[in-house]
Structure formats: structure tokens, C-alpha cells
Amino acid sequence: MKGTNLGEFEELVLLTIAALVNDAYSVAICDELEKVSGRSAKLGVVHAVLNRLEEKGLVKSKLGEATSMRGGKRKRYYAITAAGKAALIRAKDVRDQLWSMIPGLSLKCI
């Protein structure tokens, strides 16, 4: 099934949501991604990924309180679900496993 695998960017977004804990809404996610990865994260792309992650059931979202910021529009906060957590851990496991297979010497040579 296509939906079970995480794309590279999806994984980054998912990690960012987890890292931001209670403040994970689209613009903040973009900013954080930009800060950490150093590459520009376009709102359009992030928004599409968030939508896809929600469809896959990896994140859930709810609207926050209305404030006078943002023209009075409410923010949509994202939180990671159990399935999302599992997917992240699985991705990490795969990487760890592959890392552990690289002998320390040869990596230094590269």
C-alpha cells in the first residue's frame, strides 16, 4: 500500500510537528523547517503535505482559538497520531539499521 511509506519531506514535516508539540500550525511548521534544514519551505508544498498526512491518518488537526492576529482567522493546529508515531519510529529503525551496517572506517574514507 502506497500510504504506509513516508516520503522524505513527509517525514521531515511529521518530525517538525512532533518537535513543535503544542504550537504546530502551518506557518510555524514552515518556519521551523526553514530554520532547521536551511532550505526554503513553501507554504503551498507544506500545506499539501499536511493535507496528505491527515488523509493517511498520521496527523490529526483541530482549529484553535480566534485571536486578533491573522485577520481574525483561527489557526489549525496539528498533532501527531499513534500511527504517525509508529511510522516515524519505523523510519528511524530502518535508518539505524542501515547506519549500523556501515563500518566506521569506510564511512570516514568517503
Partner: protein
Amino acid sequence: MKQPTSPPRWAQRLLGWYCKPELLEDLQGDLQEYFERNIRSKGVVRARLIYIVDVFKFFRFYTIRKPQFIDLLIQWIMIRSYVKTSSRNIVRNKLFSAINIIGLSVSMSVALLVIAFVSDLVSYDDFHANKERIYRLNTLYESIGEQKPITLASTSVKAGRKIQDGFANVDELVWMRNGFGGDAHVGDNVIPTGGLWASEKFFSIFTFPLLQGNPATALKEPYSVVLTETSATKLFGTTDVLGKNVKFDTINYVVTGVMKDVPKLSHLRFELLVSFSTAEILVAKTDPNFNEWHSVWSNYVYMLLPEKVDMQTFQTNLNALNAEENKKDNHAKFTISLQSLRDVSLGAHLSNEIGPKVTPLVVWIMIGMAGVIVLSACFNYTNLSVARSLKRSREVGVRKLMGAVKGQVMGQFITESIIISLLALAFSFLLFLFLRKQFLSLASFLDNLVSLELTTSLGVYFLTMALAVGFLAGLLPALFFSRINVLQAIKNLATFKVFRHVTFRKALIVVQYTLSLIFITTTVIGYRQYRSMLSFDLGFKTENIVNMKLRGNSAIAVTKVMSELPEVVDISKSLMVTSLGSMHGTQVKYKNSDDSAMVYLNKVDDHYLNIHEHKLVAGKNFTLKPKPGEESEVIVNEQVLKRFDIAPQNPEAALGEQLIVDKKKLTIVGVLKDFHYGTVEHEISPVILQYTEDEPGGYINVKVASKDLPATLAAMETAWKKIDKVHPMEASFYDDQIEQAYSQFSVMVKVIGFVAFLAICIASMGMFGMVVFTTETRLREISIRKVLGASERTLVYLLSKGFALLLLLAACIALPLTYIFFDQVVLRQFAYHASMGVVDIFLGACLIGALALIMIGSQTIRTARSNPADVLKSE
């Protein structure tokens, strides 16, 4: 001024329109946040731009709102309600509806005519199955050091052969030649007919189905002829004629095929086809240049190219061929090029065209005029609807209170205008049927060009146009009414701004009247110019001269019969009739054998100068009356002396000088005062007259002295019958022929005049409507003014001042524009023309002004005279 610091409203609205409601709020917030950030870092303008771009970027599959079934259902139910209320409204406001329906139907009938005309032009030659792949060779003729280069639709036989033999990617190629014609003899039956010479591949390129005969071989052998159904019936009385003989001159042709008649919308037109191999035998005998590269005047080459042809390679090959062939000729260059069949009947102007041709400019002008009229009628609708806003805003207010949203109010108003435009379509269709007949009978070339027949696709175009017109006319009122503030409309109508958008409405009226004025002034100036062309001093007299085509008969015999008529004063002979636009040219040299020039030519006899009252500046008429081929005299005009620099100041000195015409030495015996050999659009050029006694392809010019001209023509016809029983007489008065020669201008004047008439009618109706509504709305104000002592005169002045000012403004725009247009563009095309008078320019304006003043005056006087007591009491 403070810059707006919010994102563009329309972009926000667009986002709200397409976005799913559950995603909308967050997305709006995000964009807003970025927008605010961008204002700080990049400035307001760029921030707004980025916002717009982002709104479009978010138009994605997952954000778009899906249409819901229930919405569609409500739309459907509402349409029925719209139709019902709209028709009630139309019936209730009879004046309003009448003005709009009449205006729209009149204007739309013109639009229908133009649509039918253009759709006919566009579908020219559509019956050829391979239309898209058929190309024609055109030739650009540049003569070194002379004239402007001209592009010909014709080309040389040699070019066709070179391409057929040397080019790889040509499927089929046919060459044709025009000018086959004569009397067809079948038994005792003699019928004049004509057509084209065409080579054997003709039927594999063009789709002309053969009823009988083999399309592959029908045009192969010399002396084969393919008849159309009609010409076969005319010649033989039947279409079953395969293998029968037809005689032209002394030669027998065998019928090798019978084809269906040529469809009307075909640029190739002929009654019969003769195999090209015949032309190779017959024409080559008399014309040694038949197969030369420069023999480009009567041959046409068409070819069928493969579906995926590399035009670039083809063009490179053509260029190489052109370069090679043009090396040989130092005096002239003939460059051939390809033209798609699509551009043949609707494309740039070419000389030597084989069939009818309309330039896109004409089509655009027609579309433009129809567009202007339709637009004018739309303005009326818009104007009157908005003017009635006072009456209808309460209705809209109630609708909105009941829960109608903007879209539904708009829907209702658009439905109303569409119903009106559909009603107008019905009337305009009837008008169209009538106009079509008038239009086709306007000039024979129009009748020849198009059929304007009704087809299904035409019906679809008509309906589409009506819907578009309805939408266009209703759009502005719909927008206007949908924005009405509910509370204001319901609670307090008095504060409602009735005269809002007044500037806009005034602008529309000014535009209407400007256009009307331009049209009518154009008509007046055009008509005066046309009249002056007809009565132009050509340098010779044309009164009471009948020009009669000899149609192959001996001039001497015809002259003998005609001179027996008592009304006939004198008869001369000529090769052609001057001043009608047709021309004969020949190469002339003087002393210096390198300097040869194209000079126009007419061959005449010794009576010609007297009959036409040509003035001789020096010398005398022809005296020798030589036999054909022994001519030694020539009469020239002053331009010839100028061109060859033969004693230009002293014509007497030019007498006795010799010109070399067609390799013959001719002595100048007379010098004519310059006259118009061509039409008055062209400068007077060098012309020579040569002597002829008998020119069977030419004319005789009969000077008559008679009160009853038609009777004289009838007498001539009887006399003609004695000599030629086969051909009907072709004769007309010189003055009529001149009128005919300028008939294109008379057609133009008539068409523009008609358009002007319609434009004025529509503008006047609109103005009338506006005056009625304005005076009605101001009735109370007028009454109060009256009670307070205002006189009728001041009231009329008060009411009509505004409208009169609008008219004046329109005149100030239209008249200088028209004047400049004629002065700088149109009249530049004519080498000789009358100057524009003050009367020409102001006549139309005065007419329109008078009309408008009567209209405004009658309404305002009526209002001003109304009894104030009645008006004020009823409130």
C-alpha cells in the same frame, strides 16, 4: 494617501469561492500572516502581488470545493422563477421593453447578416477533402527600376514542372490556365461557354466528383473536355454524353467526363475543363514563351503536400529554385512562394486572382460595424435598466430580505436580459431574411460571392450570439442591482441615490452619438466623393456614347448595320473602353534602346478622337488608315513625352519622333492632352493610341442623338440580331459603365449609410428612453419649480440642457475624427478627388442634432406643461 494594507479583495473572494469551507479559514489566515510579513520585508505592492500568486497556487485538486447536487437543483428551480418574474417585468414596462427589443432586433439582424457572410467566407473550398493539404504557388513580380512589386496568384508552367520533377515531398501537382472559352458547336447548336485548362491530376487534388468518366485519365489526352452537369445539359440536353464531340473553332474535343456542378463556395469556377495537354499544343504555337520562367500571367499551379510536410525544407528548396532561375533575367525577378488553400479566398490581395477574393480587412470592418451597432443597442438596455433603478430597487430589496443572495439577484437580471435578447433574435431573424435579399441584390459580386444559406451551424452561431448579447447587456444592471443595500432600499427610498452612475450613463450616450455621427458623416462625405467621381472631368466626353462589345464579329459589319439607324451620329472602334479600370499594356522604347517602359495602350480608329472629344495639344488625327500590321503612326499623351523626355515643354517638337512599340517603329503624329485611362484612384500614366480598323475582340463606340435612349438601345438590339444570332448584344451607355466601374464605392456608401441609419435610430431610441425616464423622475421637482413661478421656457431649458451638452460633446469628438480619417487615410488612396466641404462635415451632425432636439423638446415641453396641482396632489 494611506496605502491599502489589506490583500486585494477580489483575490480574497476568489479564494473563498473555490476553496472547501473546512480548509478555507486556516488557509486565509496563513495567507494573511504571510501577507503581513511580506509587507514588512518587501513592501505593500509586492506583498499584494505575492498574495494573488499564492491564491492561484492554492487552486489545487484537494482544495477545490466539489459542486453539490442540491445547489444545482436549487439553481434549476430558481431559473423557473427568474423566467416568470422576468416575463412579468417585460410585459409591465412596455415602453422599456419595446425600445430594447426593437433596438436589439434591428442591430442583431445586421449581426446575423455579418455572421452568415463571414461563415460563408470561412467555409470557402471546405468541400475539398484535402483542403488542409492543398497549396498554391504565388509569384512575386519585381521589375527592376519600375513600379511597385506585385504579388500574383498565378505562376509559370515551368515553376510547376520544376517542382514536380525536382522536389521530393509533393504528392500531386496540377497546373491550370485560365481563358479557355468560345462558342461550343454541338450539331447545329452553338452555345458560348468557357472554363479552364487543367492537367490530369486535377481530380486527385480537388474533390469534384465525376458522374461519368475516369478521374485519373479524363484530362490526360489532348482535346479532352470534362463538362459540368449544367453545361452538359445545356450543350446536349442530357448528361449521358461520354465520348461525344464538341467543336470549338475548328477543333473537335471529346467529352471524357461529366462532373457534378461546381459548388457555390468554390474559388475555382468553370463550366468545363479542357486537358492541359491541349493548351501545350495550341497556346505554345502562338506564344513562344509558354514554357518560360517569366510567363507567369495566366497559369496556376496547385499541389497536394503530404500530411506531415517539412515546410522549412520545402521553403529552402523553393529559395534555391528562385535563386537559380532569377539569375538568368536582369530586368525582372519572379519569386514563387506557397500559399495554403485556406488563405486563397480570404487573405491578402493578389493580382490575377482566379476566383473571388475578400481581404480580411473587409471582414473586420463588417464585424466592426455590426459590433458597434449591437453594442449601441446593449448600451440602451444598460442605460435604461439603470435609469429605472428607483422603481426596481424596492423589489430587489424585498428579494434580498427574503434571502436572495447576490448571485440570485444577478441571475434574475441576466435572465431578464437574455429573454429580451431571445425575443429580439426572433424578430431579427425575420429581418435577416429580408435583409439578406437586399444585401445580395446590392451588387452582383456579392451575389456571386456568397449564398448566405441557412445551416445548422449558422443557427447555433445565431443563438450563441443572442445569448452573448443578452448576457453583455444585462451584466452591468445585474451588478448594479445585486449591490443594492437592503436597508436603504426598504426603509428610506428618498435617500436612495437615483442619479448615481450618471457620469457612466452619460458616457454611454456620448459614445453612442459619437459613433452615429461618425457613420453619418462618413456616409455624407463618401456619397459626395462618389458623386464627384462620376462627374469627374476625365479629359474627354462620355455623354450619349454606347459602347458595344463586338463579341468576335467584324467591326466593319457591325458598324455598317448600326450606322443605318437614324439615331446614330457617328461610330468609332476601339480595343477597350478607357476609364473603367481595365488596362492594356505594352513595352515601348525611345532611341535609347535600354530604356523600355510599360505604357498603356488603346487601339482606335480615326473617328475615336472626335466622338470622345479628346483634345489634341499638337499634331493631328490618324490619316493613313493602314492595313493590319502596317501601322506606322501613333498618338501619345503628354505623359509619354515626360516619361521618355521627348521635348517635354514643346509638344510640337515631338511630332515626327519615333517610338519603338513591340519592335515596330511608329511615328508620333499627335499629342493628346492628358486624360484618365484608368480610374480616378490612379495617377495619369503614359498612354499611346494606335490605329486599328477592325478588332473583333474589341468594342465599337456609337454616338447617338436621341431623346428616348432605351428605345435606341432596343433598335440597336434588333440590328445586332441581323449579324449575330448566337450571342446576345452587350452594349451600355458609357456613363452607366462608369457608374458600374465605381459600383464598389456606391455599395460601400449604401452599406455605411444603412449602418448609420440604424446607429442613429438606436441612439435616438436610447436617448428618448432616457429623456422619458428622467423627466418622469423629476416630475415633482418640475411641479414645485412651476408653483414657485418658473416659466415653461426655463423649465424646458433646464431639462434639455444636459442632453444637448452631451450631443455637443459627441459632435466635438466625432467630427474632427472623421475629418482626419478621411483627410489622412481614405482620400490619400485616390490620386484625384474633390475636396471636402464644410457642408459635407456638418450636414450629418445638423440632422442628428435636429432629430434629438425634437425628441428632447417634445418630452420636456410635455412635462413642463403638466399641471403641477395634479402631480403634487397625487403624492
